[in-house]
């Protein structure tokens, strides 16, 4: 295909992506290196706010923004280099922790960024094998089971995947809130008082469970599609050679599925590194936070309209860098494949 033709074909798509993804990305990058500060001056202000019958008026010194001629608050934007990143990463503490200080390491894990990073990484890598394993198991089971069960099994399996994440997370959380029937069931089984939402690790387990429940069907779907294209003649040849079922699985089926495993792993890692809905859905922020939640938290206007835009940008850039690092091995594979074809 000629280069100009190629560009003509991809142009509409890339124009959209440039406008709505690349541009914000560049802006975020720029913001992460700058700080915009308001100019404040102290003014003596009398404020009267309503009581029930009488007002209370207080006179106090308040920091108020300096306004320009147009009535807008004056702000100054300064280049601060990597200050925003340093505010998140605390390099000196990190240095001490890396040089083997236990206390520093413990202190490090209490910082918001590292707490979020720790959870996000655990979340990503703990769910990955579970999603792949469960997905594969369901795919093999559906392939092996009686024909009449296949349709319903596929249908039911798809439900947790297509369900709106907010709804899915709530439907599971509601089972375990307070005396919800999930908790009651677990208590019946173990004979102990159980509170899933009052400690970090049970909360984390619940979030992991939700993610596996939600995404394993996607893995299943892709693997099941892959199983349909296993070369039957190779399989038959293997049978003739006396290979057992397990050997056939290991030597023929799994290698055939390998590219799909990579594909699913790629998509899954990318999505779970961005974990966000679980934190909101399970209201876990006092126990567990994720990197995207942290970014969102910095970005949300607080009570009186302040937003930490520069730290949010820095956190977003770090999240992006993290994803790219995770994806490098998989990208290398794609590159080899791309060259090979």
């Amino acid at each position: 295909m000629r280069r100009s033709t190629f560009f003509a074909f991809i142009a509409p798509s890339f124009v959209l992506m440039l406008l709505f993804i690349a541009t914000p990305l560049v802006i975020v990058g720029w913001q992460s290196l700058h700080q915009e500060r308001g100019l404040f001056h102290d003014v003596k202000v009398e404020t009267c706010s309503p009581g029930f019958l009488r007002q209370t008026c207080t006179t106090e010194i308040r920091s108020q923004p300096v306004r320009g001629a147009d009535g807008k608050a004056i702000t100054e934007t300064r280049f601060v280099g990597l200050d925003n990143f340093a505010a998140l990463l605390q390099p000196d503490l990190l240095g001490r922790a890396l040089s083997g200080s236990r206390a520093a390491f413990a202190e490090l894990l209490e910082l918001d960024f590292y707490r979020a990073l720790r959870f996000t990484l655990t979340f990503t890598f703990a769910t990955l094998p579970l999603v792949l394993g469960l997905g594969l198991a369901i795919a093999l089971a559906v392939d092996a089971t009686v024909r009449s069960l296949r349709g319903p099994a596929i249908f039911v399996s798809l439900l947790p995947y297509v369900i709106t994440p907010v709804v899915g997370a709530l439907s599971i959380r509601w089972l375990f809130v307070g005396d919800g029937i999930g908790t009651a069931g677990l208590e019946g089984l173990t004979g102990q008082r159980i509170l899933m939402l009052t400690s970090g690790w049970t909360m984390e387990l619940l979030m992991l469970f939700y993610r596996v429940w939600h995404v394993a069907p996607f893995a299943f779907l892709v693997f099941y599609a892959g199983l349909q294209t296993v070369d039957q003649s190779t399989m038959e040849a293997a049978v003739v050679d006396g290979a057992t079922r397990l050997q056939r699985l290991r030597t023929i089926v799994l290698p055939h599925l390998a590219p799909l495993v990579v594909f699913v792993a790629l998509i899954h890692m990318m999505d779970s590194y961005r974990v966000f809905e679980e934190v909101v859905g399970f209201a876990s922020q006092s126990y567990r936070i994720s990197l995207q939640w942290l970014t969102f938290h910095y970005l949300t206007a607080d009570n009186t309209g302040n937003r930490a835009v520069s730290r949010a940008s820095a956190s977003a850039i770090l999240t992006m860098v993290g994803i790219v690092l995770l994806l490098i091995p998989l990208l290398m594979r794609t590159w080899r494949e791309h060259r090979g074809k």
């Binding site: 295909m1 280069r3 033709t5 190629f6 003509a8 074909f9 991809i10 509409p12 798509s13 959209l16 406008l19 709505f20 993804i21 914000p24 990305l25 975020v28 369901i138 093999l140 089971a141 559906v142 089971t145 349709g151 249908f155 798809l158 439900l159 297509v162 369900i163 709106t164 994440p165 907010v166 709804v167 709530l170 439907s171 089972l175 307070g178 919800g180 029937i181 779907l221 892709v222 099941y224 599609a225 892959g226 039957q232 399989m235 038959e236 079922r245 590219p259 961005r274 966000f276 990197l291 969102f296 970005l299 949010a312 992006m320 790219v324 994806l327 990208l331 794609t334 494949e337 074809k341």
Partner: protein, 382 residues
């Protein structure tokens, strides 16, 4: 597909697989079934810690009435039977009614199913089935759909989702075809860039849009001096609160996945076909139209379903960029659940959640086969 006898699964393994699957299906289904049950209970029963209270709903029965056991079984039998029939014979009947015009055929099939449902429910009401034993109320649904006007949100969701699927696929297929037929280094890097774009946390993107969208009237004004733009609308638009602006944003966010999925699908269509078309004097786009378009539908349907899910399930983009008049369904649920609510509101949220799930249910019922076959035909080759 005929299987050689030696490859057939032994009964014991078949049985084990069946048991495992049933277990998984229970786990997959339970939370969803449970919220569906809660949605037809009054607060006194719905939040009980005893599951049998939730199932039998004595409080609801006393206050709002209910159905008898036989009646419930009858409804389940009719509903299950209809679903079974639709999945088994729906497409055949649709084909027989309207030939290849599938949409009309499916509408006819759905109409038939609806008539059957009405007749079934009428029969159940006429024949005596014993006294009501299980509480049942549709109060929350009435509240959500009639009093709160949830159908506006439903229509908005349909508009946004329909727009995203249509535009995303038309733009995405072209780009994916371009990538499938180009093996240059540049193409590879563009693909990787698209993938990195997909990794971008949405909340960061979207928060950046808000001020720009709200003040768009101001910064678009210079453009409107050119006559071309004033043809579109008399004044520059405020993008905030406009469904089509949200559609464009979601299309952009969705492009990387669509391109990756369709690229491998197109790569599995032999390139010789379009080369032959080019020899016959077709332009590249002509070749795409004549050769690729007729065979691309399985892949496009699969990609369309993923686009549908992204748009339909989106929370953060719609919540931030749409106003109440144009709001979609998912952010509206969160409105019910926020802290200024009471127990009744929470059940309204549950009813709304079940309502949101229903179209997804129908969707996979209709397209289950296409999803699998689309993936089988090459969309998953990595």
């Amino acid at each position: 597909m005929s299987t050689a006898p030696s490859l057939r699964t032994p009964p014991s393994l078949r049985f084990l697989a069946g048991v495992f699957l049933l277990g998984w299906m229970l786990v997959a289904l339970f939370p969803l079934v449970w919220i569906a049950v809660q949605s037809v209970r009054l607060p006194v029963d719905a939040f009980s810690s005893n599951p049998f209270t939730v199932l039998r709903a004595p409080g609801t029965l006393a206050a709002e009435g209910g159905v008898s056991v036989l009646g419930l079984l009858g409804v389940i039998a009719i509903g299950g039977g209809l679903i079974y029939w639709l999945r088994r014979h729906g497409s055949d009947v649709a084909y027989r009614v309207a030939g290849p015009r599938r949409v009309r055929g499916w509408l006819a099939v759905l109409a038939m199913a609806a008539v059957a449902l009405v007749i079934g429910v009428w029969v159940l009401q006429v024949i005596p089935l014993g006294a009501p034993a299980i509480g049942l109320t549709f109060a929350h649904y009435r509240q959500v759909w009639i009093a709160d006007g949830f159908h506006h949100q439903f229509l908005n969701s349909m508009l946004v989702t329909g727009g995203v699927v249509t535009i995303s696929l038309s733009v995405g297929t072209l780009a994916a075809y371009g990538f499938a037929r180009t093996r240059t280094r540049l193409a590879f890097w563009l693909l990787i860039i698209a993938l990195v774009f997909r990794a971008m946390p949405h909340s960061v993107l979207v928060a950046g849009y808000l001020p720009v969208f709200i003040s768009s009237r101001e910064w678009l004004t210079p453009l409107w001096q050119f006559p071309l733009f004033s043809l579109i609308s008399a004044d520059p638009p405020t993008l905030y609160g406009k469904p089509w602006a949200v559609i464009v944003v979601l299309v952009a966010i969705n492009q990387p996945f669509t391109i990756w999925l369709l690229r491998s699908f197109f790569a599995s269509i032999p390139a010789e076909l379009d080369e032959a078309a080019a020899v016959d004097g077709c332009t590249p786009f002509g070749a795409f139209r004549r050769v690729i378009m007729p065979v691309m539908w399985p892949g496009v349907i699969t990609a369309g379903l993923f686009s549908f899910l992204l748009a339909y399930n989106d929370y953060i983009v719609a919540a931030l960029l749409l106003d109440a008049q144009s709001q979609t369904m998912v952010p509206t649920i969160s409105q019910y659940i926020n802290s200024e609510t009471n127990a009744g509101d929470q059940l309204r949220a549950v009813a709304a959640a079940v309502s949101i799930t229903a179209p997804l249910f129908l969707l996979i019922m209709a397209f289950q086969r296409n999803i699998v076959s689309g993936l089988v035909q090459g969309a998953v080759k990595g």
